[in-house]
Symmetry: C2
Subunit: 520 residues, 2 copies
């Protein structure tokens, strides 16, 4: 399959192209328009729910934007598309225009940086420029940003559940095909300390992680050398990186004792073992038992990697169980938990329970076409705000060109995200309007406000970033934002609701437009 | 990001490489081994469950196998991987061996063809050849096959729920990043008649499908021309492909009347409209009302595309509601249902409710190393069967080199899949053993058996297939297999359980090995 064709500039939905041609024929193709990307709801995993998301994916969207072209191969495919009458669906005039335009470089973008904590209805990405191009970008933009934000969010929850214990991502085999690459990266953005994904790790400048599988033990068993033979062979080859999977036959009866035998041999040769891995059974119970056995044999440092269908809730439950069960075996729960590392696969790489984020990309303003090109005007006077109504008040799009402000309390925690008009001057006391419930507002006086920052930053896909630096910077932003986030909002189950509000100006514009629409 | 590095030959888990090096150092790298790929459980979507799966993904796995190389760039990355002592983790001897081997061409594969109905614990793919290479292939094989089989299965259920109504896939924007490409293809294999995914459709020789979005109407509204203006512009440009999205403002009050106005204008110019699309609200109710309005205006042929969070259950419920509600509006339910087309997005492209398939890849035999190379021997006498025990009887791997037979009843329906040893002669009456419950068996006499067929076929990744032919052939296989599948097994909720059994020989081998393991 020709991936360069499938995932190049035609990586979009058909209707983006039919609309773009229509705009072209109507003389609207180059009319400046503004689209804003946001999601409507936090992921809801069923029995547990996210109270925040971790923004991710912009760097790879930038890669796509920077490298795709309306080239002859792509345009040739469009030219071959015949309508129901057997005539070309796309005219040579429109295809010629695409060819002349060449790429997406005439669009101006803003984005909230990767790794930042983000909330529903807040514009995470803004696209301004020629209507037809901004429309054509929609599908790819959503495809790149929805999934990585979804997975970074899930990873962040898993890492929070692990209470500082390291999380290793290894979901590749059951991840959504090539989406595995994005899932591994997003997991790193979300706080995983490493991934088993070899190619992706090298591409990002991370060290891929992993030890051995059950099949290694099986091979040695089939050849008559047993589990101990497999462990010895592994320790001989990797004396300083020896982490043994102990559950192929029987964890307590065979795996851990054999591992200890091999660890003793390693130590006698001057090497310290790294640890063991438990991949089945009652992981909490086995971790307590294995930890005691390792301690008793004099191996107090080796880690215990646990894996097998882990997610934030199973990790939470395992830590609870260890807290109760460890004392029954004369173990200190904190010590057992302190040596745990978490191998998390499928449930993180697919965001089990909520496998999609409902990010959308909505038209919020169209330039009126008079005077200058408008694309760069700061005052917005040439722009017509656009609105999309809905029977559900919460789904009515917030119209107009907007900025996003994060308001910090006097204590330094983030207290609300505020959507204001681009040309609006914020005056204290700040009135924060509920985005859809009329009359519901909260007022913050100057003394209640510790500070405010703009979240959207210029985002230039043509600036090539270092992959490793981009991921590391995103990880730092996540940590900084979580530090300033109310712990109730960070709760894994039934979190507090963070406020996303409209400014006085944004609220008035929305209501004026809704009233005007109601009259027509 | 360098996708050629991330998704080339290093598209694997780290432990596959550490194990491969160990096999190399132990002189086992080229020892023939056999791995079998199978899934353990049908997808369980929560309130509904699959009773069969549609096999998919082999053609793209073949693309990957055929095109990746242990080239200098990849080996250079491995060479750069340092262990905890700061020394290279991978030796030049092992990397040199990989370089000499070059690719996966020394592996011999078998597979059940794409599009076929498949069941748990049945080997869907078989890999035989040098142990280290077969091990290295695991992650990519599972990654390519698990996801497409998952999505083809979901699509097949959606298509069954639609009772012959066309299903159009358009999940790209919320699909798992580049997994969108595989999701679109798998949806076609599973029975969708088309996709909105432009690049993928062209790459597969399908016509991409789509019309326009709400943003088109919004643009015209912002410019003062309203919904009618948008519809007119669309109909003018696409007079023979005119399908209008009627829910941007108010479906019954504005959208459908405006569509009818434009349809009248179209007809007066000699064109027939294609239809309308409903994307929000009570789709069943709106379909009944819109159908009546279209009929009354003389448009009995146009289709009604419905979309908005559809899956097999919502479609089922919508059809039920139409059956009840249509007569209340003097409409024939069959006529309303007959004009429906289903736009299905996120929930199909992510397999909502069950976003992963638990496919595994297990060692089932290792050559004993004596005598010939063994890789091609038919009698299997040089092979040591391998087994992996588990506390859960159903998870004990079925050992040995096997064939898969599908047994058809005298009525021509598939009655069981039978795993037999490769060199076993099946004798009637056939004894079908339950794979894990001792003593549970069913016997089929010659007169009860209408026929049997082998499901695994030689699978040569080096044979380039035509993409369009591969998908079309898979679609035909699905239809043929569903025709021969018990309707109870095809049920969307709580389906009948299809039998997957062991032959006399496969059963004896498994139990002899389990007994032998129990003694050690």
């Amino acid at each position: 399959m020709d991936r360069s064709l499938a995932e190049g500039v035609l990586y979009t939905d058909q209707y983006q192209l039919t609309m773009a041609q229509l705009y072209y024929r109507q003389g609207l193709a180059e009319r400046p328009a503004r689209f804003e990307h946001f999601f409507r709801r936090y992921p809801d995993y069923g029995r547990h729910q996210a109270g925040y998301c971790i923004n991710a994916g912009a760097a790879w969207l930038a890669d796509w934007i920077r490298t795709v072209r309306f080239d002859d191969a792509s345009l040739g495919q469009l030219r071959s598309h015949l309508n129901r009458e057997g005539e070309p669906l796309f005219g040579d005039d429109f295809l010629g225009w695409l060819s002349d335009v060449g790429d997406f470089s005439s669009l101006r973008l803003e984005a909230i940086p990767e790794g930042r904590v983000v909330h529903p209805n807040v514009p995470l990405t803004v696209v301004e420029g020629p209507l037809a191009l901004a429309q054509l970008l929609e599908t790819s933009l959503l495809n790149h940003l929805n999934f990585q934000t979804l997975i970074a969010t899930k990873a962040s929850r898993v890492v929070e559940a692990a209470r500082g214990g390291g999380v290793l991502e290894f979901g590749m085999r059951r991840a959504p095909e090539r989406g595995a690459t994005a899932a591994s990266r997003a997991s790193l953005v979300g706080g995983a300390f490493g991934s088993s994904n070899v190619g992706l790790s090298h591409a990002l400048g991370f060290t891929p992680m992993g030890t051995h599988a059950h099949s290694l033990v099986q091979v040695f068993m089939a050849l008559g050398e047993g589990e101990l033979g497999a462990f010895r062979a592994y320790a001989d080859l990797y004396p300083d990186d020896c982490l043994l999977l102990v559950d192929t036959i029987n964890t307590i009866g065979s795996g851990v004792p054999n591992a200890i035998t091999v660890f003793d041999e390693l130590r006698s040769r001057g090497h310290e073992p790294v640890g063991i891995r438990l991949d089945s059974g009652d992981l909490a119970h086995l971790a307590v038992r294995a930890s005691a056995m390792l301690d008793e044999a004099g191996f107090t440092e080796p880690i215990i990697v646990i894996s097998s269908s882990l997610d934030e809730i199973t990790i939470w439950q395992i830590l609870n169980q260890i807290t109760i069960e460890a004392p029954q075996y004369d173990q200190d729960p904190a010590r057992v938990i302190g040596r745990l590392v978490y191998g998390v696969g499928t449930r993180m790489a697919t965001s089990e329970g909520a496998p999609s984020l409902d990010g959308v990309y909505k038209l919020v303003a169209v330039h009126d076409g008079g005077g200058g090109d408008g694309a760069g005007t700061a005052d917005g006077r040439d722009w017509e705000p656009a609105i999309k109504l809905s029977d559900t008040p919460a789904k009515v799009v917030n119209p107009g060109r907007k900025k996003v402000w994060r308001i910090h309390s006097a204590r330094g925690t983030a207290t609300a995200d505020l959507l204001a008009l681009s040309d609006e001057t914020l005056i204290e006391p700040l009135v924060l309007h509920h985005p859809s419930a009329p009359g519901v507002a909260r007022t913050l006086t100057a003394t209640q406000i510790g500070g405010r920052e703009e979240l959207l930053e210029p985002f230039d896909p043509w600036t090539v970033v270092d992959e490793n630096e981009a991921v590391e910077a995103a990880r730092q932003r996540r940590l900084a934002d979580l530090d300033r986030l109310d712990v109730g909002v960070r709760r894994i189950v039934n979190p507090h609701v963070y406020h996303v509000s409209l400014s006085e100006g944004a609220w008035r514009l929305k209501h004026d437009l809704m009233a005007r629409m109601g009259e027509t």
